[in-house]
């Protein structure tokens, strides 16, 4: 079997390529997808690379099928991923909800493009943030991460798999057209330096296996189909054995566990980066490619005498409330620039509860936000 990583440690990669390589590095061996701009390169790279590492690439008839296939593969014990953009992401929602309820690990990449509906297929946008959290019906917990550099595309993809495996939950990886089509030098870590998490498989004999056990972590061990642990997987609300139930107590236990398992892991699920935040009294909260403009704006603001800082969110959901809260308490002004009408802004506001002055800055014209625009907003009221 071929080596998973490119031979050179230092490579020039497009964001989409780095996501594909990150997936392989994380141990992903099944990819199902349906082409769409600006995510297609992920499929293309994996159609060439998956067979080399003994994995499987399949192009399905649509995004619904792609999502179904990766869930199936994961239930069979193989780490799996799909990649799409807005329209396809909308179509995947029903099956993403299924993955949430059945606690099937998998990674769903959404390379965001501009606009609603067919919108602006080749322009960047960040319009799918709230959808990533709330796109499924019912009330399903989910993890949503956002990348902002090509190196992120590699690293955070690995982490997406790790979180997905550990917490038995689909992880949505949000990229955007800027990151995905930018080429940057990536310095690959040595394989031994990449932390890989695999789902915990049952160690008990099959007779003792309780597939949806309400244990202390909230995360039941997961047996792969065909390994002797025969059990039932269903999108109906189910009891600890996996059988459908409508019994209020069982339903409650089940749903609470789905949320509890994340709550208990918030410390490692909620990933952020800070930049010049130590003494900041004005902060930008940003994510994805826009965080890069924000970082430059912060540097520029400092050079103009404003003590600015950046809180970059990598985990968007579960929303890092406490970490954001800290910033809201520290700063006299917080700016949330986004390429949408203000989605994470709403979350920041929710956490804010009047503590400080939170402003939004939005572009919805398919254009990338520049450092100058953010700087302008930062300095506005000085």
């Amino acid at each position: 079997m071929a080596t998973v990583m490119p031979k050179k440690k230092r490579s020039l990669l497009q964001g989409n390529e780095a996501i594909a390589l990150g997936a392989l590095a994380a141990g992903c061996r099944f990819f199902a997808g349906y082409p769409i701009t600006p995510a297609s390169e992920i499929s293309e790279v994996l159609s060439a690379r998956m067979p080399r590492v003994g994995g499987t690439f399949i192009q399905m008839e649509d995004e619904i099928a792609s999502m179904g296939a990766i869930i199936g593969a994961s239930i069979a014990g193989i780490k799996s991923m799909t990649a799409t953009s807005g329209p396809g992401f909308s179509l995947m929602q029903e099956n993403i909800g299924y993955a949430c309820i059945t606690e099937t690990p998998c990674v769903v990449v959404n390379v965001m493009r501009g606009g609603g509906s067919t919108g602006l297929p080749t322009c960047p946008g960040q319009g799918d943030v709230m959808q990533a959290r709330w796109g499924t019906h019912g009330d399903n917990p989910i993890i949503v991460l956002a990348v902002s550099t090509v190196t992120d595309c590699f690293d955070i993809t690995v982490r997406a798999f790790n979180l997905s495996e550990k917490y038995r939950i689909p992880v949505v990886l949000l990229s955007d057209e800027v990151v995905s089509h930018t080429r940057e030098t990536v310095i690959f870590p040595s394989p031994q330096d990449i932390e890989i998490v695999d789902r915990v498989t049952p160690s008990v004999p099959p007779e003792w296996y309780v597939p949806y056990e309400n244990n202390s972590t909230g995360i039941p061990d997961m047996a792969a189909f065909g390994e002797g642990y025969r059990y039932h997987v269903t999108g109906l609300v189910h009891d600890e054995r996996g059988f459908p139930t409508q019994h209020p107590e069982e339903v409650k236990t089940f749903t609470n566990r789905l949320f509890r398992k994340l709550t208990q892991g918030l410390h490692e699920i909620q990933i952020i980066k800070t930049f010049m935040m130590n003494d900041a009294d004005v902060a930008v909260i940003a994510y994805g490619s826009v965080a890069r403009s924000a970082q430059r704006a912060v540097v520029d603001a400092r050079s103009k005498g404003t003590k600015a800082g950046l809180l970059q969110l990598i985990t968007l959901f579960p929303f890092p409330e406490r970490l954001v809260d800290k910033v809201l308490k520290q700063c006299i002004r917080v700016l949330v620039p986004e390429m949408n009408m203000g989605q994470i802004y709403r979350e920041v506001q929710r956490v804010n509860q009047g503590k400080t002055d939170v402003k939004k800055y939005n572009r919805i014209d398919g254009q990338f936000i520049t450092p100058d625009e953010i700087l302008g907003e930062l300095l506005l009221e000085e």
Binding site: H181, R183, E184, T185, R292
Partner: protein
């Protein structure tokens, strides 16, 4: 370590191979010269004709904003591209044009080299004008190892075309070497104008 950020924008029309030139430049700087680079392009239907641009940012530090803010060097492979993008150029930036196709230059701080003509006449294939231009950009940017530029080029171009591309690169390098940057005006854009 102070930030040294150098921004290159390559512009031209859809079919002129702007993007591949940018990728080679980025690879030379990023992989071989071991700097930080960031390369992007205008993508989409425009790329099927019309004006297209590709950018390379080269830095000694990780790069935050991934697009060119004020290019240090603008290569324009046709008149429209030159007209569209010139105003973004840094005041002390350098304009490089394909003088085969760009006849009106908006500044005197310009390196005008007939890339297309060189490609057609010296290499015998107009299609490699982009690599001729790349050679020139390599020289004129003064931040890239020409040896690595060649290495990067050879690694990226389709098998069988290595030689012609190498030739084109060197033709560009030679042509650019004849230009004495020191004798150009210091400002490309009159600061007053801005």
């Amino acid at each position: 370590m102070a930030e040294e950020r150098y921004e290159v924008r390559l512009s031209g029309s859809g079919g002129q191979g702007i993007i591949i030139a940018a990728i080679v430049l980025a690879e030379a700087a990023g992989v071989y010269d071991k700097k930080f680079v960031c390369q992007s392009q205008s993508y989409g239907p425009e790329a099927r004709g019309g004006t297209s641009k590709a950018e390379v940012i080269i830095s000694n530090q990780t790069i935050d904003y991934p697009k060119a803010i004020k290019p240090d060097l603008l290569l324009s492979m046709n008149q429209e591209a030159c007209d569209t993008y010139f105003s973004d150029l840094k005041t002390d930036g350098l304009l490089v044009v394909d003088s085969t196709l760009v006849h009106q230059v908006p500044t005197n701080r310009v390196a005008a080299i007939p890339f297309t003509r060189i490609a057609r006449k010296e290499i015998g294939k107009e299609m490699v004008a982009n690599m001729v231009a790349l050679g020139a950009v390599g020289v004129l940017s003064q931040i890239i190892s020409l040896e690595n530029l060649e290495k990067a080029l050879l690694a990226r171009v389709p098998k069988g075309t290595e030689e012609i591309n190498r030739k084109a690169l060197h033709a560009g390098i030679e042509a650019a070497k004849t230009i004495d940057l020191k004798h150009l005006p210091l400002l490309a854009i009159d600061e007053e104008e801005i």
